[in-house]
Symmetry: C2
Subunit: 409 residues, 2 copies
């Protein structure tokens, strides 16, 4: 008997009708001879409604109490889904975070999982039950309720799959898999049947919205095979797995873009040691994540220093940088949130040169100026003017041959 953990997001359980639909899918999997546990999110809109109530009281509600309120969203779904499975003749039992348990640290609203006790869920599966587990929530050593933050339910599913040694963790979502790029921009985008954890990690952090980085990371660390599928139609979806010999070896697997960054430039900073350390130390202390950093070569004793942050953090980052600019005698600070980061991703480029060159040439041919560049072993990213997003994505998708499976660009 294979053990399968299935995860359904808010849209998939957004109404009683859809919950009943999920119940049918889960039961069908069990009837096919598998052991099944299911992890669910709050009904779509519910988490926002709950947080909204708290924010009616104050702009900054206590994170511990916010988690108590927010955790009810998933709790309602597990009860309803268990009832729906039972109505169809199945055996089901719901599990809240503290009942599994998902042990976490006490960082409310963004708790990290420390360990997952799989025993009770495993025992229930063995007895023919379908455990219906609340995603997104956990419990501290001291019994406080926590939530895991954005993408938390995916993480719950992957962590549970690791704990019960599941053969696969199926993530049901409103898209039918991971694509070579955003199909809304490039109609020729193709579903990727298998992608490595590393590539998926890059894709997620570079703007692909299918799965959050932390769930993929967790899956990679514990070797959980993840299967992204549509909850509305049958289809083969995308497997996220260990890089394996049989995998399609394209140089580039996907083209991603991220409109969520903003650029900050310190113009004409005196070229003295310690300034960058001071700047990024202060920004780090303010809990602002910096993505790309570029420092041009010095000319006439001064230099330009450019970096990107999340767009939401730009106002805070600007305040900090302007203060430091005065202190160190920089000429001025410029910011630009009208940018996009376009990336080519693929484990294939590890062993091949030329991907970066091909990317720069392609963008140049389209008349697109590259503002910043950053590379890793399996990706090349360029920051460009946001208005070129679609043009750049389509040109790169095309030049790397992603529309035609098996053909390298």
């Amino acid at each position: 008997m294979a053990i399968i953990v299935q995860k359904y997001g808010g849209t998939s359980v957004g109404s009683i009708e859809r919950i009943e639909n999920v119940a049918r899918r889960v039961l069908a999997t069990q009837k096919a001879g598998h052991g099944v546990a299911v992890v669910v999110s709050a009904m779509s809109g519910e988490t926002n409604r709950l947080l909204g109530l708290a924010h009616q009281i104050t702009e900054k509600p206590d994170p511990r109490e916010l988690d108590v309120v927010a955790a009810t969203g998933e709790q309602v779904t597990i009860g309803l889904l268990a009832i729906a499975i039972q109505k169809l003749g199945g055996k089901a039992q719901s599990f809240m975070g503290f009942q599994v348990p998902f042990d976490t640290d006490a960082a409310f609203m963004k708790a990290r999982i420390r360990s997952v006790g799989g025993e009770k869920v495993q025992a229930a599966i063995q007895e023919g039950y379908i455990p219906v587990v609340a995603g997104f929530q956990g419990v501290t050593d001291e019994g406080h309720v926590t939530t895991l933050g954005r993408g938390g339910s995916d993480l719950s599913a992957v962590a549970l799959a690791a704990a019960v040694k599941a053969d696969v963790c199926e993530i049901y979502t409103d898209v039918d898999g991971v694509y070579t790029t955003d199909p809304n921009i490039e109609p020729k985008a193709r579903r990727i049947p298998r992608i490595s954890y590393e590539e998926m990690l890059e894709a997620a952090s570079l703007g692909a919205k299918v799965m959050q980085t932390r769930s993929v990371e967790f899956g990679m660390r514990y070797g959980v095979k993840i299967h992204v599928r549509s909850s509305f139609e049958d289809g083969e979806g995308t497997f996220i797995v260990q890089e394996e010999p049989g995998m399609e070896r394209l140089l580039v697997t996907a083209v991603a873009y991220d409109k969520n960054e903003a650029k900050v430039t310190l113009v004409r900073v005196p070229d003295k040691p310690g300034i960058a350390a001071k700047l990024f130390g202060t920004i780090g202390q303010a809990n602002i994540n910096v993505d790309m950093i570029i420092q041009n070569i010095s000319s006439q004793g001064s230099t330009d220093l450019t970096f990107t942050v999340g767009r939401a953090d730009l106002p805070r980052a600007k305040d900090i940088v302007e203060k430091i600019a005065k202190e160190v005698g920089a000429e001025r600070v410029e910011t630009d949130s009208n940018i996009v980061k376009v990336s080519a991703i693929g484990v294939g480029m590890k062993s091949h040169a030329g991907v970066a060159a091909k990317m720069f040439t392609t963008l140049a041919k389209e008349g697109i100026n590259i503002q910043m560049i950053s590379t890793s072993e399996i990706k090349v990213s360029c920051v460009i003017d946001q208005k070129y997003t679609e043009l750049a994505v389509r040109a790169l998708h095309d030049v790397f041959g992603l529309a035609e499976p098996g053909k390298n660009g």
Copy 2:
């Protein structure tokens, strides 16, 4: 430092504004120098909304899962109230049922409290926190979430008060105390400043809606002083306490009525041993509560057997009785749900005769026929035609002198 447990019902926390109002009241109590814990219900309408979702799936949802869903109602309130208290500068921490814990048996939807761990709540009070505790919910030995059924939040409050050795348990509700009778029927009804547990128990079981029997019973058993007060206006409310020498000694303390019963009569039952045992045994097995039972004296070898049940149980009771009527050769079965039970209650009547006689005379004077009578040490109840409810209540309230404090009827 006195320890006060305050309980606010669904109407009192029915909106964000009202929750903020409760926060102010709770804080004011703490600022007056007391240690305070607060127990709350779900926002009004919320429990019904949640149960409604489950009933959209099936008419008979699994009680365990229904409790998982229903318990979220109180959970939302405790988080919001804790946030509201913090916003006003107070220290607050919410407690779910499993966090206190309220240990219960596994009778889902109507669990009974086995024990309450008061240590964490007590410690929080000592540290200057206001513990905000979810009413209505508990947890079994095995970690399943339970709910306590009707009136559960009052019970939670009284049980918590016992566990933390509170000086008083204040029940805030939409009335400002216990009255000599229903003020909607008798405008001269008077608030009772102090009432004994025994009288309150009778009043609750005889139709007074202020508090459920089980909370009063619990308070009586553990000697918890209960104070019923209005959550919308300041006032002295009603203390429910041990009978004490200083208490006002009226023969009759209150007049109650209950429209929630129905009458069943087996006409001309053969007068043989074992028939009543069989009848009430079967009804008991069907989980139907029988209140009053009357058997007339036998004439010509047969008798009439009359009893009352809750109105909601009448259809089921009728089915059972009609089956048994055939088996034992009774002539026919008659039912009547057009009745009311009117009761006079008072510890004073323990040591005085004549209350029953005065009651019968008063009803007779008004031309009201008494269909059934039942008495205990501290109450006399009569079943009459429902159309006489108001007439009977006013006449009895008057004849026992309840409108004028200190004067016995």
